[in-house]
């Protein structure tokens, strides 16, 4: 194997894999009991960050970028004129082992273009996993792409060696997908997601009865949607995400701002900036759904089909629902405290623990990590100054915007200030 050829292959196949944004290595439970290599870290470790600020935790590569499909949103589409390459199974195994040994990575993220057919591709992916686990005693993380259309037996066997499996929805709605990839449908994704989910449930049910049950996809499943390539509203996107979280117990849904890679007229033109701020707001909404007890319908509905760009969705919800505020920090229940803008999960937990010892003051809240300048409009505590005026939501929004500088507004507006 020549130096230059392996370098070239890695460049091509890492470059083609980078649009898959998931790089999480959390949820692994594999322990190093065989004196082999690797031991999971339950919350995962980001070993470095690319210059675009994304975490690099896994060696994320395609086995090959040869593909029989021609999906418009994908760099590896059949009709695209790019260099093609393919790793051998042993090359992937060796790269993974050697990167892992040097503490470069938490594990392997293996995906692939579809060559010949789904089963042929899935078999090769499975072979990599088996070699790592069985021959190399490797206990590091493996994130494996489920190839839609692969046979149940192959998918089930792969689940015994992988920590996480994922299949991308690609477009938030069926209509969007049909527009850009007529050969594909959401049903192709739902079938294997459902199959893996049922197996995960079965294995964990068995575990309650039988002592030694092998691990089956212990870190669960995830999916990804491309944002901004087709004209869906934020409501469409998040309602789809919500359905998939519910129906398939997904660990994560990823939102990937579309980076223009095609000059087809159905897509945003080349050189268009990826919608980073919108992507950020969608992730914030995702967090509110998963960790803050919000229902997606509270944040996005027919009256508000899109998220505010200038303020985050939690603040936006609070301003629309001023009837719930101000909240008394010393009395309100945990769920309500979590909904206050400027208070996160950690500080909310600290507040409910600390107030058992005495009523809380402003300076104590600040020390606990509450973003007080934001929260002050929505709370009362022992020494909150008495206020006669009852501000409207829009006024509060103006106060907060005036004193905060959004990280996304890089250039100040040139608008003259009249008053």
């Amino acid at each position: 194997m020549s130096f230059d050829r392996i370098r070239e292959k890695l460049n091509i196949l890492a470059d083609a894999a980078k649009y898959d944004v998931s790089c999480s290595s959390s949820g692994g439970t594999r322990k190093n009991n065989n004196k082999g290599l690797g031991d999971s870290h339950s919350s995962g470790i980001c070993h470095t960050y690319t210059e675009d600020g994304r975490c690099v935790s896994l060696l994320k590569i395609l086995l090959t970028n040869h593909c029989i499909y021609d999906c418009l949103f994908c760099v590896s589409r059949k009709s695209n004129d790019v260099k093609r390459a393919a790793f051998t199974v042993d090359e992937v195994v060796e790269l993974t082992m050697n990167f892992y040994r040097r503490n470069y990575i938490e594990g392997l993220f293996l995906s692939s273009g579809i060559f010949k057919n789904a089963d042929f591709t899935m078999e090769r992916l499975l072979l990599v996993c088996k070699k790592l686990r069985l021959e190399q005693n490797y206990n590091g993380y493996i994130h494996l792409k489920t190839i839609p259309g692969a046979s149940d037996e192959l998918i089930k066997e792969a689940g015994l060696y992988a920590d996480r499996m994922s299949i991308n929805l690609e477009m938030p709605t069926e209509a969007g997908l049909k527009l850009l990839a007529p050969e594909k449908s959401h049903a192709d994704v739902i079938k294997p997601l459902d199959f893996v989910q049922k197996n995960i449930a079965q294995f964990s049910a068995d575990k309650k009865l039988i002592k030694h049950v092998p691990k089956f996809v212990p870190a669960g499943q995830s999916t990804q949607m491309v944002i901004g390539a087709t004209p869906e509203s934020d409501k469409d996107i998040m309602y789809t995400a919500n359905t998939f979280y519910k129906n398939f117990s997904l660990k994560r849904v990823y939102y990937s701002g579309y980076v223009p890679i095609s000059d087809d007229t159905r897509m945003p033109v080349l050189g268009t900036q990826p919608p980073l701020l919108r992507e950020n707001r969608l992730y914030q909404t995702d967090w509110l759904m998963r960790f803050y007890g919000f229902k997606v319908q509270e944040i996005l509905n027919d009256a508000n089909p899109n998220l505010d760009i200038d303020i985050d969705p939690k603040l936006s919800w609070a301003i629309r629902n001023m009837q719930h505020f101000p909240v008394d920090i010393n009395k309100a229940d945990y769920k309500m405290i979590l909904r206050i803008p400027g208070i996160g999960v950690m500080s909310a937990q600290k507040i409910v623990q600390a107030r058992k010892f005495g009523k809380l003051r402003i300076d104590q809240l600040k020390k606990m990590g509450v973003a007080y300048n934001r929260a002050k409009h929505f709370i009362t505590c022992v020494d909150t100054p008495y206020q006669i005026k009852d501000y409207q939501g829009t006024q509060i929004k103006a106060f907060i915007l005036a004193e905060s500088q959004s990280k996304y507004l890089k250039t100040d507006s040139n608008q003259l200030i009249l008053f």
Partner: protein, 254 residues
């Protein structure tokens, strides 16, 4: 009143024991290293005593949850002079109050320990992430570090469990000691670096023949994984502060 202790954990715990023997009111606790005599303040030098320290530690184990024993230990490892004072007063506060007092985040010592522990845990996590081993000619995986806090005792288990089938050394250049795993146990070692040149990295001649290939492949990979259209230097530097770049293979030129 000033208590001066030797900077060790048993020393700090002994100081707590001595305080309860005498109950002298407010005491400021200083380590020998930074102690400066003051004209009108009484000074007592703490004579570290393992038995007394064990009694205080056993008492703490009964009073606070495991996660808080960990916070306590992490705060100690921060080596920050003010942290010693907070640890001292935290311990007194815990013993003077009913079980569960450590969740009183309104208390300044509780909050201080919680913050120190967070910083130290973050540094520990960064070491687990940013350490880059280089394979030497004799099959040893070597990495040197100079972390903000004394985190070697905290990362020991992580590396021992993870790299069970390879020999490795992690050396703290700032504190001048390291850990060596010999495929069975981890032991503390002290290396005498005779020449300044050896300090940073072992010379390339001593490296495994494939070391250069893999570090090159890793640098390539790091470049390929980047999406130029999404460039965000501010975020990048926030996640990987510049002081850690010296560890990172992918951040070296060439």
């Amino acid at each position: 009143m000033i208590y001066v202790f030797d900077g060790s954990l048993p020393g700090l715990l002994t100081a707590v024991f001595e305080w309860f023997e005498r109950k002298p009111g407010f005491v400021s606790l200083k380590s020998m290293e930074i102690f400066q005599p003051e004209a009108f303040t009484e000074v007592m030098v703490i004579d570290t005593n393992a038995e007394k320290a064990d009694r205080v530690w056993a008492g703490l184990q009964k009073k606070i949850k495991k996660t808080w024993l960990r916070n306590f230990y992490c705060s100690y490892l921060s080596e920050i002079p003010e942290a010693y004072q907070h640890l001292f007063q935290f311990t007194i506060y815990i013993f003077q109050n009913p079980v569960g007092a450590e969740t009183n985040y309104g208390n300044e010592h509780v909050m201080a320990l919680s913050k120190y522990a967070k910083s130290v845990e973050r540094e520990k996590h960064r070491m687990e992430a940013f350490i880059r081993f280089q394979k030497t000619g004799d099959g040893m995986f070597y990495a040197s570090i100079d972390p903000d806090f004394n985190v070697l005792p905290l990362i020991n288990n992580h590396f021992k469990n993870r790299y069970a089938d390879q020999q490795w050394i992690i050396y703290d250049l700032k504190r001048k000691y390291g850990l060596h795993y010999d495929l069975n146990t981890v032991e503390e070692i002290i290396i005498d670096f005779t020449t300044e040149a050896n300090k940073k990295n072992p010379p390339t001649i001593l490296m495994d023949e494939k070391e250069e290939l893999y570090s090159l492949l890793w640098k390539d990979y790091f470049k390929s994984a980047n999406i130029v259209a999404r460039k965000n230097t501010k975020l990048h530097v926030k996640h990987v502060p510049k002081r850690y770049w010296k560890y990172l293979t992918e951040k070296q030129l060439g």
